[in-house]
């Protein structure tokens, strides 16, 4: 049996967290579990006014997304146009009206494509206890995280410095075979400080340090990216699932990274 606790603030919600308690974001994952009798959830804590944490705003070179902002919220905000392709890659329209930024960070494999983009954009999380936390650190230990996310701040990339692709079997929308987000700041045509993240290639979205290192100082052409493509396999050890085997994911990851970096698109 599941009980519902409705609270006014995120801090109240965090205070209510504990064994068997889950926080209701968009509900797309939690309610599914509830419907199917998930015995790990006996209490749902929800905010009476989740809209209060759904803001999208600019903060200098960064943008701030409320944890309860939905994918649809993102799509309505011109401030974050660079994230529109990412938000549109999540679910169908109904899911996008429900799924939240905060929930996506906790979405299990193979979901969580929005978090892949956030990871590439150097996202920092403001937590319910007021602390700041790098997304990368939370992802590394999200199974045991008890705090809630209040908002996410991510870099606003310049020009076409940000690239995202999601490979699905089903078109136009499906779960990820893999997704790739790349933030490729350039100086005089050379990449400097690239961040490249993959989704559905590990239990959580992950960065690929070897790829990032191999992209340092190169130009975005076939020769320039060659070493990065060869590095993909070193960074990733993807799992098998019903969509694709780890072997396949590993085999095509460089192909899709190449297409992303060279702007060749997906099929």
């Amino acid at each position: 049996m599941v009980t519902i606790t409705t609270v006014e603030t995120l801090q109240d919600a965090a205070a209510n967290k504990g064994q068997g308690t889950a926080f209701l974001g968009g509900g797309t994952l939690l309610m599914r579990g509830v419907n199917y009798g998930d015995q790990n959830v006996s209490r749902i804590v929800r905010l009476r006014q989740p809209e209060s944490l759904a803001g999208v705003s600019s903060e200098g070179e960064r943008v701030r997304l409320g944890a309860c902002a939905t994918m649809a919220t993102i799509l309505k905000s011109a401030d974050v146009a660079f994230l529109h392709a990412v938000a549109r890659a999540v679910g169908g329209p109904a899911i996008r009206n429900m799924a939240t930024v905060g929930g996506n960070v906790f979405a299990p494999h193979p979901y969580g494509d929005f978090a892949v983009a956030l990871l590439a954009l150097d996202a920092k999380l403001r937590m319910s206890d007021g602390s700041e936390l790098e997304l990368e650190r939370l992802l590394a230990a999200r199974e045991t995280e008890t705090r809630l996310i209040e908002s996410v701040s991510a870099m606003r990339p310049a020009g076409d410095d940000f690239r995202f692709l999601k490979v699905t079997r089903v078109k136009p929308r499906g779960a990820s075979v893999l997704s790739i987000a790349a933030w490729l700041p350039r100086r005089a045509g050379r990449i400097s400080g690239a961040r490249v993240a993959f989704g559905a290639m590990a239990p959580t979205p992950v960065r690929t340090p070897a790829v990032e290192a191999a992209l340092e100082g190169v130009s975005l052409d076939q020769n320039g990216i060659d070493r990065a493509l060869q590095s993909v396999a070193n960074d990733l050890n993807p799992p098998d699932d019903s969509l694709a085997s780890g072997w396949y994911r590993k085999e095509v990851a460089p192909v899709h990274l190449k297409r992303l970096l060279l702007g060749q698109g997906t099929r």
Partner: protein, 340 residues
């Protein structure tokens, strides 16, 4: 990235009706006092259009407009026995039972009209518009409604009919496999055009050109529904679907539609269909059931087209990008087999 075009062909036939017979279906038809007809069945409409096609069959047989006929089905207290909706038996078995029931009801209808018009029933015909007239004398006429009223309230007749259709069970010889399976066959042939991405193994079906022989298209739009939707399912079976992606290993079994894959609305394949109609003697108005066979030729045609495109024989379904890619690597790359 190189995208290779491929073209493949396959043709099939499909047996109509439950193999080996022994699968009866019954129908009852009766009129309301105002000359409308109810068809009572226990057959199931699971989307294939059972209610609609039996309605047209009943109207045609009775000689009345389809708008004057309704089909009530699948209440075991009122609908007589039917084996069920499977094995492409619905149109064939149930359709034949409805013809028999409606024929008996028509005979009662014409006899009642004959009494009103003071002629022999054999001299009467229906116009399909709700009227009965003397053959060759269209002015000597009575409406079906007036006939029904007269039958009910003046003559004391029912305008009703019973029908059953059964192919008795056949044996199978254990040593030779001799048997009398089914009664007629539907046919199909099709050409698939597709593209294979030789870096990812992804297959994209671009076009299907097909010929389906369905006996008779009892309702051309229902046939079209089946053929378009069925070919979609064929593409889905060929490239996507399985409950066990690593068969015979049971791991990673999908439990939802995110993991159990089927083509989405963004993958609609242009499908140009020619419908051929070679009526079968024992089928209702010659119509064979098109519902089951329509997916079958798509699977091998896609496999054959993939081979044509990149020289990879994928003899294991579904033809996933992974299987194509593994074989491409084993072959040392794509080996296009030539333009067809």
């Amino acid at each position: 990235m190189t995208v290779h075009k491929g073209r493949g062909f396959a043709c099939i036939n499909y047996p109509i009706g439950m193999n080996l017979g022994g699968d009866p279906s019954q129908a009852l038809v009766h009129s309301t006092p105002d000359g409308k007809f109810m068809v009572s069945l226990s057959s199931i409409d699971l989307g294939q259009g059972m209610k609609s096609v039996t309605r047209q069959i009943a109207a045609e047989t009775l000689g009345v407009p389809v708008s004057d006929v309704y089909v009530d089905t699948a209440d075991s207290d009122t609908g007589p026995h039917c084996m069920g909706s499977f094995a492409s038996r619905g149109t064939h078995r149930v359709g034949n039972a409805v013809i028999r029931a409606a024929t008996e009801a028509r005979k009662a209808l014409l006899e009642a009209a004959a009494e009103e018009l003071e002629v022999n029933a054999s001299d009467l015909d229906t116009d399909g518009q709700g009227n009965i007239h003397v053959k060759g004398a269209p002015s000597r006429t009575i409406t079906v409604a007036d006939t029904a009223i007269a039958a009910q309230f003046k003559q004391g007749r029912t305008l009703s009919g019973r029908g059953i259709f059964l192919i008795p069970p056949s044996d199978v010889d254990p040593d030779t496999g001799e048997m009398t399976p089914v009664s007629c066959f539907a046919h199909a042939a099709l050409v698939v055009d597709l593209e294979v991405d030789d870096e990812t193994g992804e297959v994209t079906v671009r076009e299907i050109n097909s010929a389906y022989e369905v006996g008779r298209a009892l309702n051309p739009r229902l046939v079209e529904q089946q053929l378009i939707g069925g070919a979609w399912m064929g593409v889905s079976h060929a490239l996507y679907e399985t409950t066990e992606p690593y068969y015979p290993d049971r791991s990673h079994a999908p439990t939802d539609f995110n993991a159990y894959l089927m083509p989405g609305p963004g993958e609609v394949v242009d499908h140009n269909i020619a419908v051929l109609e070679r009526p079968a003697e024992d089928a209702p108005f010659g119509g064979k059931g098109p519902g089951e066979m329509c997916a079958n030729p798509v699977l091998p045609a896609i496999a054959n087209a993939v081979y044509n495109a990149v020289g990879v024989r994928c003899d294991t379904l579904p033809i996933t990008p992974e299987k194509v890619l593994r074989r491409l690597i084993a072959n040392g790359g794509a080996r296009p087999q030539g333009v067809r």
